[in-house]
C-alpha cells in the first residue's frame, strides 16, 4: 500500500534577496485508499505544496523530506516522480501547442506503465474514459489544453488521472471555476478512480463545495505555510459555517 510521507517541509521561492519562505514546516501522511482535503485561504501555500511534491523547478526545498514508500521523492526528476506513482492535477493546466491530446495521453500512459498500451485497447480505453467525463471524442485530436475552457481543462486533468492510475493523486483546486455540471462530472471522475483502485487522494480546495460530492476521510486546515488544524469531515462543515477567520486571527 502506497504512502506519501511529507516531513517538516520548508519551501522557498525566488532567489537571493528576493527569496521568500512559503512553506514553513508541513507534516502530512497520505496512504492509498484515503482521501484527504487541504483547505485554506488564498496565498496560504497550497499550490506551493502541490508543486513542490511534483518537483516544479521554481520551488526550492530548504528543509524536510518527502518520501513515497520510503523512496526519496526530492532526489527524483519530475518525470521520475510521476513514474513512481505521483500525479498532480494542476490548478492552471498548461497549453502545449502542436501536441495532440491523443499523442500526449499515449506518451504519458506509455511512460507511467512502462510499456506502450496496445493500440486497439488503448483507443477503447480512452474513448470510455472521455465518455464518462462527458468529453467530446473530438478533443483527442485537439492540442493539449489549447483553447480549452476552464472546465474543459479540469476535465482533461481528471481524464489523465483516470488513465494514468497513480498511487497518490494531488488535485489542486480542480473544483475552482467550474459550473455545477462540470463540478459533478469532475467529482464523479475522482470518485470512480478512488473506488476502482488503491489511490490516495489529496484534494486541495478553497471552498467546501466539492466536499458535497467527495467525502474526505481527513481534513487539514492550511494557513500561512503550515497545517493549522486537522480533523475529520466535520471540520469542513465548521469551516463552511465560520470561514477561515478563526485561524487567521490566531497569534503567530
Amino acid at each position: 500500500m502506497a504512502t506519501l510521507d511529507i516531513r517538516d517541509l520548508h519551501v522557498s521561492v525566488g532567489t537571493g534577496e528576493e527569496e521568500k519562505e512559503i512553506l514553513k514546516g508541513v507534516d502530512l501522511t497520505i496512504s492509498a485508499g484515503q482521501t484527504h482535503a487541504i483547505m485554506g485561504p488564498n496565498g496560504s501555500g497550497k499550490s506551493t505544496l502541490a508543486y513542490s511534491v511534483a518537483g516544479h523547478p521554481k520551488y526550492k526545498v530548504t528543509q524536510g523530506s518527502v518520501t513515497l514508500d520510503g523512496e526519496d521523492v526530492l532526489s527524483m526528476t519530475v518525470d521520475e516522480r510521476a513514474r513512481a506513482g505521483l500525479f498532480l492535477a494542476m490548478q492552471y493546466p498548461v497549453e502545449v501547442p502542436g501536441v495532440s491530446m491523443s499523442n500526449f495521453l499515449r506518451s504519458a500512459a506509455t511512460a507511467t506503465r512502462g510499456e506502450a498500451p496496445k493500440i486497439r485497447t488503448w483507443v477503447k480505453e480512452m474513448k470510455t474514459a472521455m465518455d464518462v467525463l462527458g468529453m467530446d471524442p473530438a478533443f483527442a485530436e485537439r492540442n493539449v489544453n489549447e483553447g480549452f475552457s476552464g472546465g474543459e481543462k479540469k476535465r482533461h486533468e481528471i481524464l489523465q488521472l483516470s488513465l494514468l492510475k497513480p498511487a497518490i493523486a494531488i488535485l489542486d483546486e480542480t473544483d475552482s471555476g467550474l459550473d455545477v455540471d462540470a463540478l459533478r462530472a469532475v467529482a464523479e471522475g475522482v470518485n470512480r478512480v478512488s473506488a476502482a483502485g488503491d489511490v490516495g487522494v489529496l484534494l486541495i480546495t478553497h471552498y467546501t463545495r466539492i466536499l458535497r460530492y467527495i467525502t474526505p476521510d481527513f481534513v487539514h486546515v492550511f494557513v500561512d505555510g503550515r497545517i493549522a488544524e486537522e480533523g475529520g469531515p466535520e471540520l469542513a462543515d465548521r469551516l463552511e459555517a465560520d470561514g477561515y477567520e478563526r485561524f487567521l486571527k490566531a497569534p503567530a
Binding site: G55, P57, V78, D79, A82, V94, P97, G98, A111, Q160
Partner: protein
C-alpha cells in the same frame, strides 16, 4: 565553366553574371549577407577556399529518365539560372561540369527519382557543382535530391518545369556536422505548371539555401514547403524569392523550423514580389519557428512587394513560439522524460507541415530523418 553575362545593372542585387569579379566583395554588411557568419563559409565567398572536396552523384531513376554529365556548352545549362551573387558565380566558374537530369515530355513517373549527392573531404575541402533538372511538357515527376556527407559545397541548381507539367522536388540537407553548403536554386514554371517544393534542412554546420521561383506564363502554381531543425552551433539560412510577373499564378510558402541548443541560428527571409502585370495573383507566405531552448535564435523576415491591386490574395505571416519551462514541466509531470517531451513537441510541430506533402512514401522517411536528428543531435 565559361562566362555568360547579361548587361550589368546599376543595382548590385540585379547583376546577373557568371564572372565572380562582376560582383562586389562580400563584407557581411549587405542586406543579403548580414545574418551569415562569413568566417564559417570556408572561403567559398572570397576565393580563399581550399580545393579538393569530392562530390559523387548517385542516381536511381525509373526508365526513360536520363542523368548525364555535360559541359556548359550544353544548351540546357544557363537557361534558367545565371548567378546573381558572388558565391553562385564562384560555383558556376569552379564547377568541373554540369549534371543534367531530364524527364521526357509527357512522361508520367510513378516512382520518385532519387539523386543522392555525397560530399567528402571535410569542411576544409571545397567543391562546386551545377545541376539542371528539366521536366518536359506535360510530364509528372518527383525528385528527391539528397545531400549528405561532409564537404564545403557551393552549387547552382536550375529547374525548368515545362508547360502543364508537375514536379515535386524534395531537397534534403542531411549533411554531417561540419559541412558547409551554399546553394542557389532557381525554378521556372511554364504555363499551368505545378511545383511542390519541399526543403528539409537538418545537418551541416552552415547551410544557406536561396530558392527563386519565376513564372514564364499564366497558370503556374508553386507550393514551397520547408522544414528545418537547427541544433547547437548550426546556422541554417533559407532565402526565398517568388516573383510574380505574369497574370493568374499562385504561390504558397510555408516554412517551419525548430531550434535547440546554444548558438543554433535559423534565418528565414521570404520575398514575394507581385509586378504590375501580375494581375490575378494569389499568394501567401508563412514562417513559423519553435524555439526549444535558451540560446537558440530565429530571425524571420517576410516581405511582400505589390505593384498591382488586382490580386486574388496576398498575405504573409511569421510567428515564433517558445517551448517553455511550464510546458516541459507539464509533460514531464505525466511521466514523460525530458527528451521525449521535446520530441513530442517537435513531432507535433512538423506533422502538420509533412501532412501537406500528401505522399506517405515521401513524408514518412522525412519524419524519420527528423526524429533521427532529434535523437542524435547536430552531428
Amino acid at each position: 565553366m565559361a562566362e555568360r553575362n547579361q548587361p550589368a545593372d546599376v543595382r548590385p542585387e540585379l547583376i546577373r553574371s557568371t564572372d565572380v569579379e562582376d560582383f562586389q566583395k562580400i563584407t557581411g554588411r549587405e542586406e543579403q549577407w548580414r545574418f551569415t557568419p562569413l568566417r564559417r563559409l570556408a572561403g567559398l565567398h572570397d576565393g580563399t577556399f581550399t580545393p579538393g572536396g569530392l562530390i559523387t552523384r548517385d542516381l536511381q531513376a525509373p526508365a526513360g529518365v536520363t542523368g548525364e554529365t555535360v559541359t556548359d556548352a550544353d544548351p540546357r545549362v544557363g537557361t534558367v539560372l545565371i548567378p546573381f551573387d558572388r558565391v553562385s558565380a564562384q560555383a558556376w566558374s569552379s564547377a568541373p561540369d554540369a549534371y543534367v537530369l531530364s524527364v521526357p515530355t509527357g512522361a508520367e513517373l510513378t516512382e520518385p527519382i532519387r539523386l543522392t549527392v555525397s560530399g567528402a573531404g571535410g569542411r576544409d575541402a571545397a567543391a562546386f557543382g551545377h545541376t539542371v533538372i528539366d521536366v518536359g511538357r506535360g510530364a509528372e515527376a518527383s525528385v528527391v535530391l539528397d545531400h549528405r556527407g561532409t564537404v564545403s559545397y557551393a552549387d547552382n541548381v536550375e529547374i525548368s518545369v515545362g508547360d502543364n507539367a508537375g514536379l515535386m522536388l524534395v531537397s534534403i540537407q542531411d549533411w554531417d556536422g561540419d559541412a558547409v553548403h551554399v546553394q542557389h536554386q532557381k525554378i521556372r514554371l511554364g504555363r499551368d505548371a505545378r511545383l511542390r517544393h519541399i526543403v528539409v534542412t537538418l545537418g551541416g554546420s552552415l547551410v544557406r539555401l536561396s530558392t527563386t521561383v519565376e513564372y514564364a506564363d499564366r497558370g503556374g502554381d508553386a507550393e514551397l514547403l520547408g522544414l528545418y531543425f537547427a541544433d547547437t552551433g548550426q546556422h541554417q539560412e533559407h532565402r526565398l524569392v517568388v516573383e510574380h510577373t505574369v497574370p493568374d499564378c499562385r504561390s504558397r510558402v510555408e516554412y517551419r523550423g525548430a531550434l535547440q541548443g546554444d548558438e543554433a541560428h535559423a534565418v528565414w527571409v521570404g520575398d514575394v514580389i507581385i509586378r504590375a502585370g501580375a494581375t490575378g495573383t494569389d499568394t501567401y507566405e508563412l514562417n513559423r519557428n519553435l524555439v526549444l531552448t535558451e540560446g537558440a535564435r530565429a530571425d524571420s523576415i517576410p516581405n511582400l512587394e505589390i505593384e498591382t491591386g488586382e490580386v486574388v490574395g496576398a498575405g504573409h505571416a511569421s510567428a515564433t513560439g517558445r517551448f517553455d519551462d511550464e510546458q516541459l514541466f507539464y509533460l514531464m509531470s505525466r511521466g514523460i522524460p525530458e527528451h521525449d517531451a521535446r520530441r513530442l513537441v517537435v513531432r507535433g510541430f512538423f506533422a502538420g507541415l509533412l501532412a501537406r506533402i500528401g505522399d506517405e512514401s515521401v513524408s514518412g522517411p522525412l519524419m524519420e530523418a527528423v526524429e533521427a536528428r532529434l535523437a542524435k543531435g547536430p552531428n
